[in-house]
């Protein structure tokens, strides 16, 4: 589904990703861990097409297409979704309007008919259950005045409605209390299917108790320094990031 090969990217002339390779197949959950500044969020933003980042080398194929050649909206239409670390507030646009506009754009891209607001509300009713929310939230402006936990839940709601093939969760767990974390994780588990995939980016092992990954990759200084199964996360928790930092330093030489 996703093949990243030797990806280099940076911002304002400073290279942050220094040769990342990663393959994600249907049905898999990959966790990407790493210390602050290791390039985890940059990788997520680059995959979603954030215009601030410059690609300096490498290749990314998504469902056989050249991902780096696509506009952010084309990536979304192709089935890629990024749950933002800091979801953006859009005062003046209701959650319902925004979500329906996005949903319809994806339908249009697939050559399907747009749905009207009545049909969409019906669909929403089901999806709201995924994040254990009532319909009131749909009348509020997108993320505007939401608590940190509400913003993260809203990202998962969007994920539930848009049903991407590949969802990247960028530190969706950070700043969440344990109840919010459980809700978010249950939402993700609920959306897991044999034909979709998740990349879960996190700083902490805690989330991986609830969303169990098939693979864990550790990023440091813009490189994947170690990959393994879900046990790797436990080991990291026990040994700390200094351990991988030393490996990264060795790789950089």
């Amino acid at each position: 589904m996703l093949e990243i090969h030797d990806l280099h990217a940076g911002v304002a002339g400073k290279e942050i990703l220094k040769g990342i390779s990663l393959t994600v197949n249907r049905g898999e959950i990959h966790a990407i861990m790493g210390p602050n500044g290791s390039g985890k969020s940059t990788l997520a933003q680059v995959l979603a097409g954030h215009p601030a980042f410059e690609i300096t080398g490498g290749e990314v194929r998504f469902e056989g297409q050249d991902l780096l050649d696509m506009q952010p909206e084309e990536r979304a239409q192709a089935g890629l979704f990024l749950a933002f670390q800091y979801p953006v507030e859009i005062p003046g646009v209701t959650n319902a309007y925004f979500l329906r506009a996005a949903y319809n754009e994806l339908r249009k891209a697939r050559g399907e008919e747009e749905v009207d607001s009545m049909d969409f509300l019906e669909l929403l009713e089901q999806k709201l259950k995924v994040v254990d929310w009532g319909p009131e939230i749909m009348h509020r402006a997108v993320n505007h005045g939401f608590s940190g936990g509400e913003k993260k839940r809203n990202e998962i709601l969007q994920l539930a409605v848009l049903e991407p093939k590949l969802a990247i969760l960028d530190e969706t767990d950070s700043g969440l209390d344990i109840d919010a974390l459980r809700t978010v994780a249950a939402g993700v588990n609920n959306l897991r299917r044999p034909d979709n995939a998740f990349i879960v980016i996190t700083h902490y092992q805690r989330l991986l108790n609830y969303i169990v990954p098939d693979y864990v990759h550790v990023l440091s200084r813009g490189r994947v320094v170690i990959s393994g199964g879900k046990d790797l996360a436990m080991e990291l928790e026990a040994r700390g990031y200094e351990w991988v930092d030393a490996q990264a330093e060795a790789m950089a030489k």
Partner: protein, 441 residues
Amino acid sequence: MSQAYLKEFETLAGATTAEGPEWLEPVRRAAMDRFARTGFPTAREEEWRFTPVAPIAQATWRSAAVGGSGIEDIGRDQLAPFVFGHSEWSTLVFVNGEHAPALSTLGILPDGVLVTSLADALRNGSGTQVLERHLTRYARIDESPFTALNTAFLRDGGFIHVPSGTDLPHPINLVFVTTSDAAGAVIHPRNLVVVERNSRASLVESYVTLAPGARYWTNPVTEVWTGANSWVEHTRIQRESEAAYHVATTQVEVSRDSHYRSFSMAMGADLARHNLNARLGDQSSEALLYGLYITHGHQLVDNHTVLYHDHPNCHSWEVYKGILDGSSHAVFSGKVFVKPEAQKTDAKQTNRNLVLSDHAKVDTKPQLEIFADDVRCTHGATVGRLDEVALFYAQSRGLPADEARRVLTYAFAAEVLDEVSLEPVREELNRLVLQRLNGEA
């Protein structure tokens, strides 16, 4: 140039005074004298620094009343876009400045409520005591030469009187429409709205055109007086021809314990200036001023607001937002004066501008002059572009870049449009904004 106006004034003097009450004649004459002395303002005056009125001052404008009004050319269906789909509302239509009874509708009004053309009232004496007490008493001829000129030539407009203890069940709709006959003419609409104590009224005042390319000049003055413990909502919509000039003053006097709420929308005219002055003239009164301007091409839209906090415990809240495209230019000046005795004043003023093009320009100047010490007053102004992060967020959800831009721009407007409490008017304004953002108007 004021000579031409003086000459016309003398010509008209005989005709108009014959129709009006005696007390009005010296008021008109004083206004004419005032204008003859000052002439039009120049850019050297601080109040007019960013808004050059030379195109108005240097042109010769015929009086619309003399040129004939073209009323008979208009069908009611052409006015449908301006009545918000509510035939039960009372609507007064003025065509090129002159009341058009055949196009107007008076809904069912509570006892004692007067909704009439000012020209009719001056002629037949209806509401004569109200007129004498209020007309020309608030909009000052020494504050603006344009008000002086309007007062000198005042003839027609809307006159609304709501007696005490009366709730108007429906809004009153004043529609000033121009036709191609208005080309080259100046129109001086004059409105008076008096809402007595313990009463409630909603007013919509629109300046619209059936001749989108016509060059004319509208110079309206609206005076609003609210009695104690009254509630007045005033929605103003300026959609003149984009070749026209519109220079307006709205003067509001808010009495004790009363509430005045204004929404001012400006999207028309080549040059538009709106002075909105509200005086919180007694304790515990409140004024909420909202505004939205959307400009493109070479339009200049200037909003000058003044809030006078003369007494204690008053509250004012002001939010004006602008969306600028093309080579357009917006000016905002917001003054808040707090007198020494106006303790416990609570005033907040905000002006936010969204600039969509490299060539658009904003001059914004919020000003507080506070002479009391126990007050809470804040102000702020911003000029900015669409938030790149928000754009990326919307795109990452599948919205094409253009659509994302439109949604975010609309959202910026929607925040203040939501303050229009009359639903049919809000819906119409929403439609107009979307139409403009889609490049359809």
